[in-house]
């Protein structure tokens, strides 16, 4: 499989596979059994996730959000839906909250520091504690020089860390 779809984002319709597969089957260098096997591997998750029935259409915001390559550069005509802000989250808030705790490693805990016992005077300190002030991931101008919006490092500050 090429990723995503063709050899490169701007490679037109060229694919390592595609028409080359047809040629390989026709000239006998690739068996139809092997081709069936390849197709089964690709299509199994498609059917498992019921993408053939009642699957949400692609959010049209996908195109401007992917402005790193831009809609014009895309060689694939994605079947965009007409409704933006598609909510596909289901119970993900519960799940990610649980996973966030599960991925947290308690490395040190002395003097009964944790768990907290209703402390009355709490200080919250550091630039990693609060909300994101510079906007979320967005790769179009004027954010283009900072495609991964928040938490981006100043290289100078990294040097000073040493």
């Amino acid at each position: 499989m090429d990723m995503p779809g063709t050899i490169g984002f701007r490679a037109g319709g060229n694919s390592f596979f595609g028409g080359n597969i047809t040629t390989a089957v026709n000239n006998g260098s690739l068996s139809e059994d092997r081709l069936d096997d390849m197709i089964k591997r690709i299509m199994t998750p498609y059917f498992h996730l019921k993408q053939d029935t009642d699957f949400p259409s692609i959010d049209p915001s996908e195109i401007p959000l992917n402005s790193f390559f831009g809609a014009a550069a895309s060689t694939v005509a994605f079947p965009l839906g007409s409704v933006a802000n598609v909510d596909v989250r289901e119970n993900h808030a519960t799940l990610i909250r649980e996973l966030g705790s599960a991925g947290t490693v308690l490395l040190k805990n002395v003097n009964g520091a944790l768990p907290l016992k209703a402390p009355k005077n709490i200080a919250v300190l550091g630039n990693d504690a609060g909300d994101i002030l510079n906007g979320e991931y967005f790769s179009a101008a004027p954010y283009q020089s900072n495609p991964f919006g928040y938490g981006k490092l100043c290289l100078q500050s990294k040097q000073e860390n040493r």
Partner: protein, 369 residues
């Protein structure tokens, strides 16, 4: 101008904001974000607590930068550190970013109950870990959109932490010199296609296998992680469960399927231990099984221990349970670069089960061949 300098002049610098996800292909656009400060405010309101905050690291690391905290010292100081990681822009230090060491030392100098939380895409060295005023450390990694709530659940004990380190936190950055960070402008601009050659001379001795082999003390070892409860492991038994022919050194010939020779997944032995919650609260622990494979003459150094199984077990206080580890042919083998095959070595294979790579609670041994 080097590429790094060019990048720097273009880089827009958002200092403020928690780090819930990594960069590059590892990033994700969040539907919303519950940051730690917001979640702490909401939880603290239930207790009618005062929540004071300073989010400016420059201020925090300046003399009298904490003077606005009144009354002081607070009952608890929660310090949040972050470490950006992204494809195509490698880290140049194992410290957390934004002058993190000075921030922690400054806070700990006025607050004798300083709790540090890190958000990082990989390991950090923690030079302030032994500071007596740093009373707790949480490596929260990259928790995602509910990051604040995930953390509050742990801080207030609604969730008993059970995460374990999938890497070693050594004492200093120099301890990783065997697999050093490559930080070279010359390499960025080279046109020599061989300049980036890496020969992996560390062989099998990566991470904990290196530190174990050279008997080097570390800050927090591979597999380590605390709980609000305590756990123990006892009664290790290892028995042969494979009823077939005599076990051969190399896998018997078989039709190769996805995953390789299917006999590599034959279960040859099974180890069983009893895991107990010896503390006062419910929680989960992670018993870990390590094998000590024989050193084969002529082969590269064999690690003293290799992880070959782990399970997460939830237990009520006082409860215990049996945990089984199936040992496949592949688990008991090493990859011989000479034979280009998985090989079971002759001699004694040590079996250790513990609560981390250096907290071994029970040992045994087997001879497979």
């Amino acid at each position: 101008m080097s590429p790094i300098q060019a990048r720097k002049s273009l880089t827009f610098i958002p200092e403020y904001g928690t780090l819930p996800v990594g960069g590059g292909s590892g990033t994700g656009r969040l539907s919303y974000l519950v940051d730690p400060l917001t979640a702490i405010k909401a939880r603290a309101a239930q207790d009618g607590s005062l929540v004071q905050y300073i989010l400016n690291n420059t201020l925090l690391s300046t003399p009298r930068g904490l003077a606005s905290l009144q009354p002081t010292p607070p009952d608890v100081c929660l310090v949040f550190l972050k470490t950006w990681a992204e494809e195509g822009e490698d880290r140049s230090t194992l410290l957390a970013d934004w002058n993190s060491t000075a921030v922690v030392e400054s806070v700990a100098s006025v607050c004798n109950n300083t709790i540090v939380v890190t958000h990082s895409g990989g390991l950090n060295i923690l030079p302030w870990a032994e500071n007596p005023n740093v009373t707790a450390i949480l490596a929260a990694h990259l928790p995602g959109t509910e990051t604040g709530n995930s953390l509050v659940d742990v801080l207030y004990g609604d969730v008993n932490p059970s995460g374990r380190l999938p890497y070693t936190i050594a004492k200093t950055q120099e301890d990783y010199a065997f697999a050093d960070i490559t930080n070279s402008t010359a390499l960025v601009t080279t046109r020599d296609p061989n300049a980036w050659q890496s020969d992996f001379t560390e062989g099998l001795l990566i991470d904990y296998r290196h530190f174990d082999y050279y008997n080097q003390s570390v800050q927090y070892e591979f597999g380590f992680g605390l709980s609000y409860s305590t756990f123990d492991i006892s009664s290790l038994s290892v028995s042969k469960v494979y009823g077939g022919y005599n076990i051969s050194s190399t896998p018997p010939p078989a039709k190769i399927i996805p995953g390789g020779n299917p006999t590599l997944w034959d279960v040859l032995y099974r180890a069983t231990v009893t895991v107990s919650n010896t503390g006062d609260v419910a929680g989960a622990t992670v018993p870990q099984l390590y094998l000590s494979l024989p050193q084969v003459p002529g082969e590269d150094p064999t690690p003293l221990k290799v992880l070959r199984g782990f399970e997460k077990v939830s237990l009520q206080p006082g409860q215990n349970t049996a945990v089984n580890f199936d040992l496949t042919r592949r688990d008991l083998s090493y990859w011989s670069i000479y034979q280009q095959e998985w090989v079971i070595a002759g001699g004694e294979i040590g079996v250790s089960v513990g609560l981390s790579s250096r907290d071994i609670k029970a040992t045994s041994s087997i001879r497979v061949l």
